[in-house]
């Protein structure tokens, strides 16, 4: 196993408080049934919910807010630390970076925000009903796209460095709180927990095809399948808004030739309609199918990265009770699990 460092939860909280003058820190907090990112302060630091799946807001929203004036320079806010990011959301950065840091047309605002933000990923110590990251080769513990990884057990905080920014932050941490190197024995519990969660997620998704097979199946899919599953779709776009990799947008015009980038989705009517009236994504069934083909066929072919990280948020968010996993399982096995679609 790679080198890990060890500190206590109390010391780590102390470190976060001491960094508040230099950084804006976000971490997940649980309020009633909702887990979501909030700003950390001296009072709430003890309530940070590390290792719980899954913040309601995907990580993308920090870098691609729902609405932003993209012709103005970034304001001088404090560099951010985002703590408690799950592996599925970090994996989504593969696609976000490919789109927004495209060398031919780099989005400078996105680049600056990515550079100024320190990402601290955390292991998931449990999983939700619709979590299926492992089916897409993503482990429920971060392995890339962040600066530090936190793994914990009881009052221990284990820290792994994944980047130069992470190295720098750990050095700063060592100057403020006691940090020691973790031993192989210390890490045994971490390792066992990781494997247990990983295996549980794989077990609960028996029948769900892997990425490559999903792509093959979707290319062969027939219209009746889309008609059936789109029958309860209301075109609200919640699946795309909550998706860690959906980043399509609308450019709005403002005076002084300013442009505002606003999150948009192919699930909305008229997304591709041209002035003369033609709309390649009409009717709704075609729009509904488009999102699946985009995620599992077209984006992976183009960018060589996955456009679904198995977070399951789209299933939780759907007011029409449409389960992507049930659709893909039916496509794979022919078995229908849900009564409403039977």
């Amino acid at each position: 196993m790679d080198k890990y460092y060890l500190t206590s939860r109390g010391s780590f909280e102390q470190f976060l408080v001491s960094r508040l003058t230099e950084s804006t820190i976000y971490a997940p907090f649980r309020r009633l049934n909702v887990l979501d990112y909030e700003r950390v302060n001296e009072e709430n630091v003890k309530n940070i919910a590390l290792h719980e799946p899954l913040p309601a807001t995907p990580l993308k929203t920090f870098f691609l807010p729902i609405r932003k004036n993209v012709t103005l320079d970034v304001n001088g806010s404090l560099p951010a630390i985002i703590l408690g990011v799950p592996a599925c959301d970090l994996a989504a950065l593969d696609l976000l970076d490919a789109v927004y840091l495209d060398p031919a047309f780099p989005d400078d605002l996105y680049r600056k925000q990515r550079e100024q933000t320190i990402l601290i990923g955390t292991d998931c110590h449990s999983h939700l009903k619709h979590c299926h990251c492992t089916i897409y080769n993503i482990n429920p513990f971060p392995e890339r796209n962040c600066d530090l990884v936190l793994s914990g057990y009881q009052s221990d905080v284990f820290i792994r460095i994944l980047s130069d920014k992470g190295q720098k932050l750990l050095k700063d941490m060592c100057s403020r709180i006691p940090v020691q190197e973790a031993t192989a024995g210390d890490l045994e519990t971490v390792k066992l927990k990781r494997m247990a969660v990983r295996d549980d997620i794989t077990r609960q998704n028996q029948g769900l095809p892997d990425l490559k097979h999903t792509s093959t199946l979707l290319k062969q899919s027939e219209y009746w399948l889309w008609k059936k599953y789109a029958s309860t779709c209301v075109g609200c776009g919640a699946c795309a808004a909550i998706c860690p990799t959906c980043t399509c947008f609308l450019l709005l015009d403002r005076p002084e030739f300013e442009k505002v980038r606003q999150l948009d989705t192919c699930q909305y009517p008229d997304f591709q309609r041209v002035a003369a009236g033609e709309d390649p994504l009409s009717p709704l069934t075609v729009r509904f199918r488009n999102r699946y083909l985009c995620k599992y066929v077209w984006r992976p072919e183009r960018y060589k990265v996955s456009a679904c990280t198995g977070c399951g948020r789209c299933i939780d968010a759907c007011p029409g009770n449409i389960s992507k996993n049930e659709l893909l399982t039916e496509l794979n096995t022919g078995e229908v699990k849900i009564s409403q679609h039977a």
């Binding site: 047309f105 015009d253 002035a275």
Partner: protein
């Protein structure tokens, strides 16, 4: 290190002249605040300050850098506003974007161009390029169709083309009137009238989707190989650089990978003519 360019911010351009081409189509002659280069067939995003933006392929010569002509059909609320502009107005230009016409594949070939309606705008830019290149090509045959004689745009262009050696221009209208002494019928009828040496030719098609569909089918039936039919796929290009998703067509972003595609590149996709 210089500050990176903001990809969303347009260049300003002043409207110099407005030319009425037909009851629904006008050409705006713009002077950008600095020299603006594009390849024929590439497109720009034209911004009406604070109101909206729309994609257009310049209809002017790619060899002219200080002026830019954009031909606009009144089809929606943004294009209607463009039609109301008067000289002196300041507009925004982003681009040029995408992949234009593969002029190098036209070298030493006969070029058959099929255009419909306002689809003649990008083609006019290509024609200006080919006129500059007339020593490098064998022949250019333009077949253009419009609904009625009044809808025919660029009327002086046809006289000009027919006076240039190696160039010929034919027109058809769906519904003729007493003034019309050329072909009556859909544009593909013209392809039966011209004598084309298919093995030595490339074809270019630009126009409304339904016209492109039938023109492509006609060219295929004439023996044109799929990789020598070039199509201008005009979709809802918005950002211009493959990020916003509005022009996604299968794995392609029309704004970045097109707007010009050969038929063999896109024929596998569903719904390309919509």
């Amino acid at each position: 290190m210089p500050e990176a360019k903001n990809i969303y911010r347009p260049l300003k351009a002043t409207l110099e002249t407005v030319i009425d081409e037909s009851p629904l189509i006008k050409t705006l002659v713009l002077r950008p605040e600095k020299e603006f280069s594009f390849d024929t067939g590439q497109f720009i995003e034209l911004t009406l300050n604070g109101y909206g933006e729309a994609p257009f392929t310049p209809s002017s010569s790619p060899f002219v850098k200080d002026k830019l002509e954009v031909t606009i059909m009144k089809a929606g609320h943004v294009t209607e506003k463009f039609h109301q502009l008067t000289p002196g107005a300041v507009l925004g230009i982003r681009g040029p974007y995408g992949r234009g016409y593969p002029v190098y594949n036209m070298y030493d070939k006969e070029v058959v161009i099929v255009g419909g309606g306002c689809g003649l705008a990008p083609i006019r830019s290509l024609l200006y390029h080919l006129i500059e290149w007339k020593d490098r090509i064998k022949r250019v045959v333009l077949c253009y169709g419009s609904k009625t004689p009044a809808d025919c745009i660029y009327k002086p262009l046809f006289r000009e083309l027919n006076s240039i050696p190696k160039f010929e221009a034919h027109r058809a209208v769906n519904v003729a009137d007493e003034t019309w002494d050329e072909t009556e019928g859909v544009v593909t009828v013209l392809l039966d009238k011209v004598n084309i040496n298919v093995p030595d030719s490339v074809a270019v098609v630009c126009g409304p989707p339904v016209m492109m569909k039938f023109a492509t089918q006609k060219l295929l039936s004439m023996g044109f190989p799929e990789d020598r039919i070039y199509l201008s796929m005009e979709k809802n290009m918005s950002c211009g650089f493959g990020k916003c998703g509005h022009c996604m067509m299968g794995e392609f972003f029309v704004c970045k990978d097109g707007p010009v595609f050969s038929y063999d590149e896109i024929r596998h996709l569903p719904d390309i003519w919509r």
